[in-house]
Structures are given as C-alpha cells and as structure tokens.
Symmetry: C2
Subunit: 452 residues, 2 copies
C-alpha cells in the first residue's frame, strides 16, 4: 500500500490512522517499514500521539523499535509501556542491545526491569553484563539457531521454522555436540541445496572459525573483516558455544574505535558529541588543556634561559612559532601514520626497522626542502645571512627530530602495551617543543656574535 | 584432517605436500581453509615453491586467493599463471575486486587482461570501472542471484542450486520483473520455511530499500549501517537492478573514510601506510608543511610589527608558545567534535545554534579556568602582577576565539559543500595563530608602561 509513498506521505497516513483510531491501517503501514524507519516515524510524531503509537504495536515491533532508539527515548518508551508489557518486550529484545540499554541505568532500575522478564532471558542478559566492556562476550547475542550434529537436514529446517522470528539476518546454523561444544557450521544455502534426509554431520563445515568470549572487540572486528563473515560464533575456554557476534555490531565497533582514535589524536576529550552539555564537555577537555598549559610553561622556561640571546636579537622571536609549529606538525603526521598502521599490520623487528628508516628518510627530505626555503626567505626578509643559516639549520634538525619522535614514541608505547594514540599526543608535543626550542636557541647562541 | 592443527603445523603439512608433489593432500588442506588463510599460507611460502602452489589450485580457489592479496602479489600471481588460465580466473573473481585490481594497471595491460576473459564478464567489469570512484556503482558486484516474480519457491531454490557457488555470503534473492526492474526481495529463510509451490510474488517483501548506482559510497555505508543489512541492491534511474553492495565492502568503506578523516585532521598526507616509500611519503606531506611554513611566517610578521613591545619586555616571549599552542589545541578539539558529529547527525538551524552556543559555553569555562591559573603562575614566576593580568586576559580571549573558530569554520565549509576535515586544519591554524598573537601583543602594548 505504501510502496511508492514518500516519507512525509507515510508519516501523514500513519498520523491519520492514529488520530482516527484505525489500528489495522496503522499496522499495515508499520508492517512494511524497516525498524529504523519505524523509529524515525515514532520520533517525528507529536508527543500527545506517541502513547497510542506504542499501544498499536505488538511486543515484537516494540522490541524492534526499542533497539533503534537512543537511551533517553528508550526510557521514555519504557515509562509509557508499564511494568507488565515492558517485561514481555524486553524478553524479545536482542540481548546485546538490552545489555547496553541496562548499562545506562541505576542498579535499582535494572533489578526492577529484570524482575519483569522471563527467568531464562534475564539470566542471559545478566551473564552478558558480567563480561568486561569491549569484549566479545559483551557484544554477543543468543538470537541464533543451533542444531545437533545428528540432525537430518529436515530436522534442521524444522527447527529453523520454529525459530524463524529471530533467525532473519544470519544465514548460518551452528552445530553443537552433546556438551554444547561448537563442532560445525551449516549455511542456509547448504540446507537449501542438500537432500532432506542427509545428516548434518556429513554436510557441515568442521573447521569453524570462532572467537573466545574474552577477546577484545577490536580483535573480533578484525577477524570478521578479514574473513568477510556475516557473523562469528563466540565460545568459552571449553569450546562451549556461548553466542554469536554479528557484522552489524562490528560496524559500530569500527566507527567507535575510529572515533576514539580521532578523539585521542586531537586530544578532543572522551565521548563528546553534539548533545553533550557545555559543562561536561569543558570538564572532559580541561585535563588535556591544563597539561598543555604546563608543557607551554616548560617551553617558556627554556626561552627565558636564553633571554640574553633573545634580548640581543629580537628577530629570533619572529621565527619561534614557525619552528615549533612545524616540528609539532611533522610529529603529528608521523604519529597518525603509525597509529592507523598499527591497526592493520602485524609488527615485527623487520617492519619496525623499515618504518623507522623510512621516516628518517622522510625527515631528511622534508627537512632539507623546508630548511632551504626558510633560509632564503629569512635572509631576504631580515637581510641577515647568518640569521638565515641559523633558522634554516635549526628547522632541518628539528624536522628530523620531530619525524623520528612521532614514529619511535608510539612504537615504544605499543611495545609496552600502552595505547599509542592516547599517550603519544602530549608526550610528542612536549618533547618536540623542548627539542625545537633548545636546538633553535642553542644554534642561535653559537652564532650570537655573527648575528646582526 | 587439519581441524585441530596450529597455523605452523598447517604450513608445514602444506609445504611437505607441495615438495613431495602430493596434489590430493594439498587440496584437502586448502579445502578446509578460509580464503584469507589460503592467502596467508601463499605469502608464507618460499618463492621457489609458489609456482606449484598455484598449479595445485583450481580456478575457483585461485580467484578466491587473488581477492585476498595485495596488488603487488596479485600481479605476481597473474604473471605466473599465464594468459589462458588468467582469463578463466578473472572470470570467476568478484567484479568489484577485479575492478579495483585493474584500476592499478596500465591501459594496455587492462586491455590484454580483459581480452582473455569471457565477453559478458569483461563487459560487466568495464561497466563498473566506468562509474566514478567512491560510488555505489563502483562498489557493487553482480555475484548475486535474481529471480522473477512469477517463479515458484521450487524454481527459486532450483536457480539458487545452480548458482550455489557464488551465492554463499548473501542470504537474499532479489526479485525483478520483465524489464529487470527491482520489485521485491526474498530471504533464504523465507524460502526454507515456505511451501515449495508458493509463488514468489506472494511471499516477497515489496518495499525493497535500494540505493542509486551514483550514490556516494559513504551514504551507501550509512544506509547499510542504519538498517543492519547484509547487502543492499543497487538500481539505476529506471529502477533496473544493476548489482548489490555487500556489508564486507562497507566495512572497508568505514575504515577508509575514518582513515581519510584522520589523515586530513592531522594533515598527514593522503594514503601513506607502512609500505609507502620515503620519497612518496615526503612528497605527499610537503604541501601541508610548506603551507604551514608560510602561515608561520605570517605569525612572524605580526610579532615583528610588535618588536618594540617585545624589546622592552622580553618576558612576553616566554608565554608566546603557550598561548599559540593552547589556542591551536582548543580549535582542533572543537574541529574534531564537529567533523565526527557531521557524519552521524542531520544538520539544521536548531542543531547549529545549540552546537555553537554549547561551544561558546565550553570556551568561557575553559578560558576562565586556564586564565586564572596562568595569571597566578605568571605573577609568581615573573613577580609582575600586570604581566600576569596581560597573559591571563589574553589566554581567556584567545581560548574563546579558538573554540568558536574550530566550531564555526567547519560548519561554514560544510554549508558550502567543502569537506570540513580537509579545509579546516590549515585555515583554523592560520586564523588562530594570527588572532592569538594580535590579541596577546595588542593587550601587552596597551599595558606597556605598567609592565616591568
């Protein structure tokens, strides 16, 4: 019915159906929409009609809707639903989505919500929440279909039929033995093309690639990306099948990890988005800024120790911001290359040696180019050849130092299992500031008598 | 056979099979491995045994292997294969992977490779390569199964059986009408649970979500992420089904886009990884650095215009790097928040107003905190209350300016359809450097007679 309608037309039809209390028509519309679109529709509704919107949805659709909403709106929906219906809806939600909803709530609220659910469902959610954050166990869902290795294809299809509701997005069946250990995998396609009386054991693929429940989510993401899987099974230390992680959650992991890298590299503060309040955002950014303030004071102290030189040749101050800025920037360039490279490359001595010598080469080339350029400019501008040489040779040295610091420091941190993205920024800025000022004023002091 | 072996044991077994010319055993090993693992195995092999490794693989496995290798290694394999076998293997490769392999080659080489392929396959690849880079058309593959709406479920399963080879990873069948227009979609699960005599038209889902072949890959990625799809169909302007984009390619898009954002934000230069040569990396980084060098000279020019002030109070130089650094850093913090936020948020006037006032609030809070801190420190260090006031009030103003510049500039660029990540970095650095120095020396000159 709504096949060729625009979004606005659909919203209008749905709103009319709600206002005129036509439940059937409303259901017909929602039935053809994707969960994401139902959520958008709900969000666009005027507040006074939202309650009936929810009343017109069955528990399955409510569960789908909840999975797509923000935490604030999830809580709004739960408040409107009432205790009894809430329990039913939570039972139907994907465990991983439910776990991340509950995460945001107070312990009392969690207990009250879980108490409304079926025992076995609430137990599963609690088990997931017991895993450390950012592990495979925390990401996994139990919304998948397992079968036994002695089943026939007919048995398997039968089981699939009865669990059809939540077996939509994954196209594998996982095969377990009597101890619930993962022993094989069969794709829906395999089932479709196999004979109905065939035994699963004979058609299943045995070398199943699985991840441990304690594996870091970044590593799980890398496994799925490498193998182009739609889902990967999660097992405990006894190879017992605990759940599966699906590719849609992995996309969220990739986005989250990239955002974290950017936050760390730009020292932008953790988890600040458009909705964060000013006070919270300032609070999260201040530690970095105060650290940088003290780093700036160290630079000031170095400059002050050369104040005699500076007093004699004030022109030295003109080039100070340029040298410090350039050194900082080369350091950041190298840092970004190393941090992103570490994600996809396995590191060994050969790789490190090649990378460091490459960056040394880069430092030499850009150092030489920029140094020649600035020497000529400084000479023309200030009419002082020696000043040109001082500025040029300083820039040459500091660019090499900056490049190497930006390469070596993250590698050393990585070696000691410290996240190179978070720790390198301030460290590299400090060291590069200090090195560049000492080099610059050191060289200038050497030539002090020759400078005009 | 190799089910419980470690990677090293598998490599050893495979190597032994190759050396002892036992093709059957080698095939049995490779048969249980994922394509990614076969590629790793190939890479780990000594060069002198690689040719036989390839000889022992059939065309299907060779196509899988090629899809997993780097360009350099792909070319190595093609050279070893010879013209005739190459044609067969290329026919079997995913078109999108083949297109990105060909992209790297010279026009003559492309023509010669395409001429060895089946006409219809080479036509499809050429069509894909005719799409602009980073569009849905360029990402799509034709390795999917389409059916007609008048088919029965039995027909559909029959067709699926005959195309079983490449219908592994996607669990939908796309339904087209007599003009090849996309009219519906059926999941494998729907087929499994439906009656064999049911007509596809009656069980298919009609409100298919598809993307246009000219859509930007970032938008395609966002669609798949929103709807948690495993694949999305691609249609042309007449709604004719052209191909599908699968979620595994979308993961690569997300990684690529995140890397590009990081490259731009840190001005690290395009596509530099661990394997880029020093000269190339330096060449890609230099434009930014030379731009920054001239920006640095503008700062120098500003300082030189205040050289009288500076000569009288050399201590002013001590705080210069700190003020410039802090202003630059707040700008970058705001920029990172805005650039990442633009990816996931729809922008309207309300959002912009809220964001800008939030950042103004942030600027006030961090400005006030840092200004008080530095006033006290400057007073204690230099024993000059007026200097403390000059440095503190300058920092207060420049932090507010830096925060606002980092917020407003990317939003303005975004409004004019310029990528905020690439253009903002140097712009924000320049403006913040200039503003901060003018503010600092301007205030200092006002108080010049009171300063010690």
């Amino acid at each position: 019915m709504i096949k060729n309608m625009t979004e606005d037309e659909i919203t209008l039809q749905a709103l009319k159906a709600i206002i005129e209390n036509r439940k059937k028509d409303f259901e017909a519309i929602v039935d053809e929409l994707q969960p994401y679109d139902v959520a958008k529709l709900y969000e666009s509704f005027p507040i006074k009609h939202k309650t009936r919107f929810l009343l017109f949805l069955n528990a399955h659709l409510l569960a789908d809707l909840l999975e797509e909403l923000d935490t604030d709106q999830q809580l709004e929906v739960l408040n409107k639903l009432g205790v009894e219906k809430t329990g039913k809806v939570l039972d139907l939600m994907d465990n991983d989505d439910l776990a991340s909803l509950l995460e945001e709530l107070s312990p009392e609220r969690i207990t009250s919500l879980l108490s409304g659910m079926k025992k076995e469902e609430s137990k599963i959610v609690q088990d997931i929440m017991n895993y450390p954050p950012e592990t495979a166990g925390r990401l996994m869902t139990n919304r998948f279909v397992w079968i036994r290795n002695y089943y026939t294809v007919r048995d398997a299809v039968g089981k699939l039929r009865s669990f059809a509701d939540f077996a939509e997005t994954i196209n594998y069946l996982y095969v377990i033995d009597e101890k619930r250990r993962l022993v094989g995998v069969v794709s829906y396609r395999d089932l479709l093309i196999a004979d109905a009386d065939e035994i699963i054991k004979n058609i299943m693929f045995e070398r199943v690639i699985a991840v441990s429940d304690m594996m870091d989510q970044e590593e799980v993401a890398r496994m799925i990306e490498r193998y182009d899987f739609m889902a990967i099974p999660v097992v405990n230390e006894d190879n017992v099948l605990m759940g599966i992680v699906t590719v849609d959650d992995i996309i969220d992991v990739f986005i989250q990890e990239a955002n974290e890298d950017i936050e760390k590299l730009s020292a932008a503060g953790k988890s600040i988005d458009f909705d964060t309040r000013a006070f919270t955002a300032a609070y999260r950014r201040l530690p970095w800024l105060i650290l940088l303030l003290f780093i700036g004071l160290v630079s000031g102290k170095i400059i002050s120790s050369y104040s005699e030189t500076l007093e004699k040749v004030v022109a030295l101050a003109f080039f100070m911001p340029m040298i410090a800025g350039m050194t900082g920037n080369t350091g950041t360039q190298s840092l970004a290359v190393v941090v992103r490279g570490l994600i996809s490359t396995d590191i060994d001595k050969k790789v490190i040696f090649r990378l460091v010598s490459r960056e040394l080469g880069v430092g030499l080339i850009i150092g030489l180019t920029c140094a020649l350029l600035i020497s000529v400019i400084a000479f023309i501008w200030q009419g002082d050849l020696i000043l040109g040489i001082v500025v040029g040779s300083s820039l040459f040295l500091t660019l090499i130092i900056g490049t190497l610091a930006g390469t070596v420091i993250p590698l050393v941190l990585y070696h000691f299992n410290i996240d190179p993205a978070v720790a390198s920024g301030p460290l590299i800025t400090t060291l590069n500031d200090i090195f560049s000022l000492i080099t610059y004023f050191g060289i200038a002091t050497l030539f002090l008598n020759q400078l005009k």
